[in-house]
């Protein structure tokens, strides 16, 4: 699926994550900011990239500002941002959930 515009989902509240997705060249590039990067950085990156791949997105730039979100939150925010970026919010990707 193609990224049509830059889109954001999520807030900077505690236990949330803000995901911004914009056009990328060849693969999924994630710039992660998190207080728990040392402990959970790999895990967070993995959740974001696997969620995008399941949606058929192979090229994107992702800026993620994490405030201690759990995996389910990261996944939900990633899907929301991706659907906004691909202009597919009218067709929720239920199968990804």
């Amino acid at each position: 699926m193609e990224i049509k515009s830059t889109a954001v989902a999520g807030t900077l509240e505690s236990s949330d994550i803000q995901i911004m997705i914009s056009k990328g060249s060849s693969d999924i590039q994630i710039d992660l900011e998190s207080d728990v990067k040392k402990e959970f950085g790999k895990q967070i990156n993995q959740v974001i990239s696997s969620t995008l791949q399941k949606m058929g997105i192979t090229a994107a730039k992702v800026k993620a500002v994490d405030k201690g979100a759990l995996d389910c939150v990261i996944k939900a925010r990633t899907i929301a941002a991706a659907q906004r970026a691909t202009k597919t919010t009218d067709k929720p990707a239920w199968e990804v959930l």
């Binding site: 505690s14 236990s15 207080d35 728990v36 040392k38 402990e39 959970f40 950085g41 790999k42 895990q43 405030k67 201690g68 979100a69 759990l70 995996d71």
Partner: protein, 512 residues
């Protein structure tokens, strides 16, 4: 070598600093010898000076140990004023031995370390930029962390030998009689500073308020004081303690507090004449509120409340639900003001409060204590010193000391954001699991299996599920996942003493 909580300790430092590994919380009945300070004899007529520079010049020399108290907390002006003068005087190789270090002191301490002015530190704790600096190897020699009771013990033993104590006070007369209760920047109890006043070779008071002689009540006495320095302002009253205490509305904290109260009231210790200590966190304050109602409902009064004191506790004193408040430190304005007005709120020094090498300390008489935790592990060991990233960001405080109570309750959420509080192994052991009895989380409680009596007493409280601590740890891990192990270098940046002066754990330099 390893100690009895299974922590590997560096042999070279243990030998060099002549330390024993931690073995047990039992203190036993040893005979010990206390030290005494040297006294420069005067009639006391020339103690008042206006210049910190002059008094530093007269008293502080390279290689000495200097001390401060932290009763002004983040409203402290004294530490930075004095350290500025000491750094500018070019004095080197000092050991800094304050009762603790607060955030306002951080930048100055870092500057003093970089200038070679401070080369050793012993403290209750450190946070923020200083904790970060030390955790990244900024200080060559390891910091020694001691509890409030252990600091008193170390001073009495001569392990900490204070050459010069700089003690800020909101009032003093020209001979040095002083208390913490009157003036602009009042903080109530002088509990920690009383050790310095009694044992330092030179005692220098700094005050913005010289009052007519003789000043009473005198917590610090003229017999102990060498100089009284007049300064502009000793502290910012608005930053010393929080103003009106607000009760938490956080449902998680309220749930924990309510459960803590159920544990207390269902324990065999909840009877007329019992004693307790609570901390200053949101949940601890809420516990006091629930406990108050339970005491009224059951017609039970407490003989004393101990420790760092807050307004909700002094309210119980006013109401007659608590007979005495034994006060080593006041966390808010209400508690500080109450000490002035209520003769049943007794100022106690850190030795009386919690020194294990004593003819009886208050903590030895304590029935119930509620303490917090950054982490607690499946052995019930508690960490209040290092964060989930391994960086120093806490203080021993009275944690180890109060944990010797008959019923020690740790109140903590199962997870904080993505960080588990209940873990397989804490990053730094501060308080050994041997002295911890019950963990209360928002999901339920875990009882130390060594306390069969409590398992019997607390296993059938309506609405309080009992888990093993391993089950709580697994519940936490299921929610947040398994973190990557922290990376440290081999270098020791801090050593944590147990209250008896043995080493319970060390903190290593973080690898970034």
């Amino acid at each position: 070598m390893k100690n009895s909580v299974n922590r590997e300790l560096p042999d070279d430092l243990m030998n060099k600093l002549n330390y024993k590994p931690f073995e047990s919380t039992e203190i036993g009945n040893p005979d010990i010898q206390r030290v005494a300070p040297s006294v420069h004899v005067t009639t006391g007529n020339d103690k008042v000076v206006d210049s910190i520079e002059d008094v530093v010049k007269k008293t502080v020399k390279d290689g000495m140990t200097i001390s401060f108290h932290h009763h002004f907390r983040n409203g402290d002006f004294v530490f930075n004023k004095v350290m500025r003068v000491i750094i500018d005087a070019g004095i080197k190789n000092l050991t800094l031995a304050p009762s603790s270090l607060t955030g306002v002191m951080n930048d100055m301490v870092i500057e003093a370390i970089k200038a070679g002015t401070i080369t050793n530190i012993t403290s209750s704790g450190m946070r923020g930029s200083l904790g970060d600096f030390v955790s990244h190897g900024g200080l060559k020699n390891p910091v020694i962390f001691r509890s409030h009771g252990n600091r008193a013990r170390a001073i009495e033993h001569g392990d900490i030998k204070i050459d010069v104590a700089f003690l800020g006070v909101p009032n003093a007369d020209k001979l040095g009689n002083a208390n913490g209760m009157e003036g602009d920047a009042v903080f109530g109890s002088l509990g920690y500073a009383l050790m310095d006043a009694q044992y330092a070779n030179k005692v220098i008071l700094l005050t913005d308020n010289i009052v007519p002689y003789p000043n009473t009540p005198a917590s610090i006495k003229q017999t102990q004081v060498d100089y009284v320095v007049k300064v502009d302002k000793v502290g910012d009253p608005d930053k010393i303690g929080s103003g009106a205490t607000r009760f938490t509305k956080d449902p998680k904290e309220l749930k924990i507090a309510e459960t803590v109260n159920k544990v207390i009231t269902n324990s065999p210790y909840f009877k007329d004449g019992f004693s307790f200590q609570t901390g200053s966190g949101g949940a601890a304050l809420a516990v006091t509120r629930y406990l108050r109602q339970s005491m009224i409902d059951n017609n039970i009064k407490a003989s004393f409340a101990l420790g760092g004191i807050t307004k909700p506790t002094t309210d119980l004193l006013e109401e007659g639900l608590v007979n005495k408040v034994m006060d080593v430190q006041d966390f808010d304005k209400g508690a500080a003001a109450s000490m002035h007005n209520n003769k049943n709120q007794q100022e106690i020094d850190a030795s009386w409060y919690a020194d294990p090498d004593n003819k009886g300390a208050m903590v030895d008489q304590l029935d119930v204590v509620i303490l917090s935790a950054l982490e607690i592990d499946t052995k019930f060991n508690v960490n209040v010193m290092s964060g989930s990233d391994g960086v120093i960001r806490g203080a021993v405080g009275g944690h180890q000391d109060a944990a010797t109570a008959k019923l020690t309750i740790i109140s903590a959420p199962l997870v904080r954001g993505r960080i588990a509080t209940v873990v397989p192994d804490v990053t730094t052991v501060v308080t050994p699991g041997e002295s911890v009895d019950v963990l209360v989380t928002e999901y339920g409680i875990a009882i130390n299996p060594a306390r069969k009596d409590l398992i019997q007493a607390l296993s059938h409280i309506p609405g309080v599920p009992v888990y093993t601590i391993e089950q709580l740890q697994q519940m936490a891990e299921k929610r947040v996942g398994k973190p990557e192990p922290l990376q440290f270098t081999d270098r020791t940046v801090a050593m944590v003493e147990y209250r008896d002066g043995s080493i319970i754990d060390t903190i290593k330099e973080v690898k970034d």
